[in-house]
């Protein structure tokens, strides 16, 4: 099931440019820059960790490494959905922190040149916009490009972790 993309390397810098791994989540297409992606694995048993925000599902064993798993649906406060055989964990490495992202379905590696990326719309209504790096246009589809740094480390996330830790 494991599919090693093995694209993570400095010499591949150019070939990785403008490439995004796209995935489905609640009917929308999302993309993350391919250079952060380490591998994609099928859903496996996740060990829950107490006192975590709801979107941190727990930890998994990735070949001897223990990595936390974040449910992206829960992160965006979308309705929960049972995991099935299409559910995947995308393992990303951001600033030496490895985290697994649970997504509904991984679709493809898409080439979205810079010219095709619109800046993120700033609607005050939806605060989750801060995770959006831009909107990628591909044919007639729109792909929401995620800013993985903010997804993992945004102040919002820190606050959530903190609050959960303190209150409970």
């Amino acid at each position: 099931m494991a599919e090693d993309l093995s694209l993570n390397g400095s010499d591949n810098e150019d070939t990785q440019k403008d490439k995004y791994l796209t995935f489905h989540l609640a009917g929308e297409d999302y993309g993350i820059e391919i250079c952060y992606v380490i591998e994609i694995i099928g859903i496996q048993s996740i060990t829950e960790v107490p006192d975590m925000p709801a979107f941190i599902r727990g930890v998994i064993n990735l070949r001897g490494k223990v990595i936390p798993v974040m449910d992206v649906r829960a992160r965006f406060k979308l309705s929960a959905r049972d995991y099935d055989d299409r559910t995947c964990i995308i393992v990303i490495n951001v600033d030496a922190t490895e985290v697994g992202l649970v997504v509904d379905e991984v679709s493809e590696v898409a080439d979205i040149p810079e010219g095709q990326v619109e800046p993120a719309p700033r609607t005050s209504k939806n605060s989750d916009n801060s995770y959006i790096q831009g909107m990628g246009k591909m044919n007639n589809r729109v792909i929401i490009l995620l800013d993985v740094h903010k997804l993992l480390f945004s102040g919002d996330m820190q606050r959530l972790l903190q609050n959960d830790g303190d209150d409970e």
């Binding site: 107490p50 006192d51 064993n61 001897g64 936390p68 985290v99 409970e168």
Partner: protein, 765 residues
């Protein structure tokens, strides 16, 4: 050796090289020992080495090697027969001969000839012959050693004993490491000696360390360091030979110089030059320590004593020049003195060079390995343990009769376990190095703060993971500073309170409860509860008057950033940063801090540090569908409770009776938010756990078994989780949490409160 070599000869040569190298390795420490006590057995061993090397080298026609070995042998023979008295410079010569032999062997190994060692062999054997012919002027001879002094002011070029070597980055790194150790040892010795000036052994030690350091620097061509260390060596030499110095106790001055050397060394480590600021003024300071003796030398040459003392005042210029200007000394007298100075500086050079390569005598042999490689190795072994578990407990094997497989598996388990233990021990280093660094710190601060203190080090041999040691260095510094500056009273205050005027600080390390405990204990004034509360209220750290806070909570207030009860910020402490650093660094390694303090009696701060990557014996337990590991160390017993053993208090707290005692019950499923098989206590199992002095019962559904587990940290992304100390990977590849007995109760209490609150609000509706 122009003839062609056949394979046989090459083999013989190689064997010779290996054998000789081994012998030299063994004998180097012995030679250095020889300087301290000329044990006839050691002497014979060294003699045998040179003799057999001479024989083999002669047979293989390595003429230069033969020459040197022969000369060394002759000198040794004379010493052995008491015809020549063994002098320190002889020891140095033998070391030089050893070093030469090593270089020659390297050359032989590379080119099967020692021709290129021609020059070096000449130098060494000339020196040896000189030592044989006329007993060399003794180093204890006061006149000669005095003549040494000005030599330091003249930059001495490295003597050409060794062929030009290219200094690689690797050599540089190992130089920095080695020299750092030498400096540390020297510092250690100095502090010792400062306390017991009558101890002449320690001064010899310091001298040797500084000497080797100087040698190292000279070898690498670090002029500044060499000059400064040379001057220190001179001062030490004076002390060693029992002469008086300008000041009674030069410790402070020497310590300051050591700091400069360290600073220069740091510069080198950073890839810069060995630049030392104000080198000349420091050199002069050191020289001033000995200036009266310099005068004596010239007085012997017939120079007017008055003139000398005035010359001493004008130390900046060469003494000879000044004296000539004043007409107090003739050019002839100066020239004579200078010549003697020259001679002895040569001697000093030849003495300094060879020892540079011989290490401080060490019984065990070390090899320096890059830490990254070690980490990789340990990670790999950790993964191998897991892989082994997955293999042996593979579900495919279930129910099969596999006698031979079982045997093989058992054998492998044993090997893997040994390998793991070995790997873990590699990373562990004794805390003695860390502790000893603190001696200096305590010495400095106590002088500065005008307090008397006796630092006791206990459990120096306790081994802790290297990275942990690095992390707790800063906290330890801060804690010690606090103890000294705030904790301990001034001698006057102490006497007034009926304590001895010398305070005691105990620094101890030991293994306890699967952790390492580093404790700092002082017998000072203790934490002042009222003062802390007052400050905390002022700073708005707590609500109310703090009367509802426990002792522990109050003590913990001192870890808040910016918190300081010191009335005055001194240059040692008081800004309130230190304790915050302590807390942060300890959190980094998932350590904990306990403070206990009695007003007027002292404070005890206990740092509890987990052994990283330790394997622990764990009991696997289950509640509902979740399995967890409980450290076996904390388990006292486990039993299935009867209904009548359980008491429920009006507050809803459950108590379980174990013989005469009642222990609170902690429900694991509530901590993990899981559904257990049954909520009834008598359907499950209670495990009695002990944490420090408190005991409680953990309610679980079932005990699954016991196994050794490799502790893995939960990801940094998750941070610290109350009640959980880490996790481990099970045989089936799943992850299981390891419960932290210490924080389990706290976690349970907060959970229960939350649940109770929810219940109440539900009931209200």
């Amino acid at each position: 050796m122009s003839m062609q070599l056949d394979d046989d000869q090459i083999e013989i040569i190689q064997e010779f090289v290996t054998e000789s190298r081994d012998m030299i390795e063994q004998l180097e420490p012995a030679i250095i020992e020889l300087g301290q006590n000329s044990d006839p057995e050691t002497m014979n061993a060294i003699f045998r080495l040179f003799h057999s090397m001479k024989g083999s080298a002669g047979f293989l026609e390595f003429t230069h090697l033969t020459r040197v070995a022969h000369a060394a042998e002759s000198l040794l023979d004379l010493i052995r027969n008491n015809e020549i008295e063994l002098l320190p410079e002889h020891v140095t010569l033998f070391c030089a001969a050893c070093d030469f032999s090593k270089d020659a062997l390297d050359a032989v190994d590379a080119s099967f000839s020692d021709d290129e060692m021609n020059v070096a062999a000449d130098t060494i054997s000339a020196q040896l012959h000189q030592a044989i012919d006329g007993p060399a002027t003794s180093i204890e001879d006061p006149e000669d050693s005095i003549a040494n002094i000005p030599a330091a002011a003249v930059p001495s070029e490295p003597a050409p004993v060794f062929p030009e070597l290219e200094i690689t980055e690797e050599m540089r790194t190992s130089f920095v490491q080695e020299s750092g150790e030498l400096l540390q040892n020297a510092e250690q010795g100095l502090l010792n000696w400062g306390e017991h000036p009558e101890d002449s052994d320690s001064i010899g030690d310091i001298f040797r360390h500084i000497h080797s350091f100087k040698g190292n620097c000279g070898f690498f061509g670090f002029g500044h360091l060499e000059k400064l260390s040379h001057q220190m060596e001179n001062v030490l030499d004076r002390v060693k030979s029992g002469s008086k110095l300008a000041v009674d106790n030069p410790t402070e001055q020497l310590l300051a110089s050591l700091d400069l050397l360290q600073q220069g060394l740091n510069n080198i480590a950073d890839g810069k030059e060995d630049f030392i600021e104000d080198l000349d003024s420091h050199l002069d300071d050191l020289k001033n320590l000995m200036s009266p003796l310099l005068g004596d030398l010239l007085a012997e040459e017939g120079v007017d004593k008055l003139a000398i003392s005035s010359a001493v005042e004008i130390q900046k210029k060469p003494v000879g020049e000044i004296l000539m200007q004043q007409g107090s000394a003739t050019a002839e007298q100066i020239a004579k003195a200078l010549k003697r100075q020259q001679e002895s500086s040569e001697e000093a050079k030849s003495k300094a060079k060879p020892v540079s390569r011989s290490k401080v005598p060490a019984k065990r042999q070390d090899i320096r390995v890059e830490l990254g490689k070690l980490d990789n190795l340990i990670n790999l072994i950790g993964e191998m343990v897991i892989a082994e578990n997955m293999l042996i407990h593979n579900p495919d094997l279930k129910g099969l009769e596999l006698e031979n497989f079982g045997k093989a598996a058992q054998h492998m388990s044993k090997l893997v376990r040994e390998l793991q233990e070995m790997a873990m021990s590699i990373r562990m280093v004794p805390v003695s190095g860390l502790f000893r660094r603190m001696i200096r710190l305590v010495h400095d601060i106590s002088v500065k703060a005008g307090k008397k203190v006796d630092l006791q080090l206990i459990g120096e041999e306790t081994e802790i993971d290297k990275t942990v040691i690095e992390t707790i260095t800063d906290p330890l510094v801060h804690l010690l500073r606090n103890s000294l500056d705030h904790g301990l009273e001034t001698p006057a205050e102490r006497s007034a309170n009926g304590k001895s005027d010398k305070g005691t600080i105990k620094l101890s390390a030991r293994h306890e409860e699967g952790e390492v405990w580093v404790t700092i204990e002082d017998d000072g004034r203790g934490l002042n509860r009222d003062k802390i509360l007052e400050k905390a209220i002022n700073k708005g750290l707590i609500d109310g008057d703090g009367s509802d806070l426990t002792e522990k909570q109050i003590n913990n207030l001192i870890f808040a950033p910016g918190f300081s009860t010191a009335a005055q910020v001194t240059d040692i402490s008081g800004r309130g940063v230190g304790m915050d650093v302590v807390k942060r660094n300890l959190e980094k390694i998932k350590g904990k801090i306990d403070i206990t303090s009695k007003l007027g009696q002292g404070t005890r701060i206990n740092l509890r540090i987990p052994l990283t990557l330790a394997i622990i014996d764990g009991m696997m337990v289950r509640t509902g569908t979740t399995t967890c590991i409980v450290p076996t160390l904390s388990i006292l017993e486990a039993y299935r409770p009867e209904m009548e053993q359980i008491t429920v208090t009006p507050d809803g707290d459950e108590l379980a009776r174990v013989r005469e005692h009642f222990f609170p019950v902690v429900r694991l499923h509530q901590i993990l938010n899981k559904k257990p098989d049954s909520e009834q206590l008598c359907d499950g199992i209670l495990i009695v756990l002990e944490y420090q002095d408190s005991r409680f019962c953990l309610f679980i559904d079932e005990i699954l078994g016991q196994q050794q587990t490799v502790i893995k940290g939960l990801s940094d992304f998750i941070g610290t989780v109350p009640g959980v100390s880490g996790c481990t990977i099970l045989g089936d590849g799943g992850v299981s949490l390891i419960l932290d007995v210490g924080t389990l109760v706290e976690s349970f209490d907060s959970k229960k409160e939350l649940a109770d609150a929810a219940l109440i609000s539900k009931g209200g509706k």
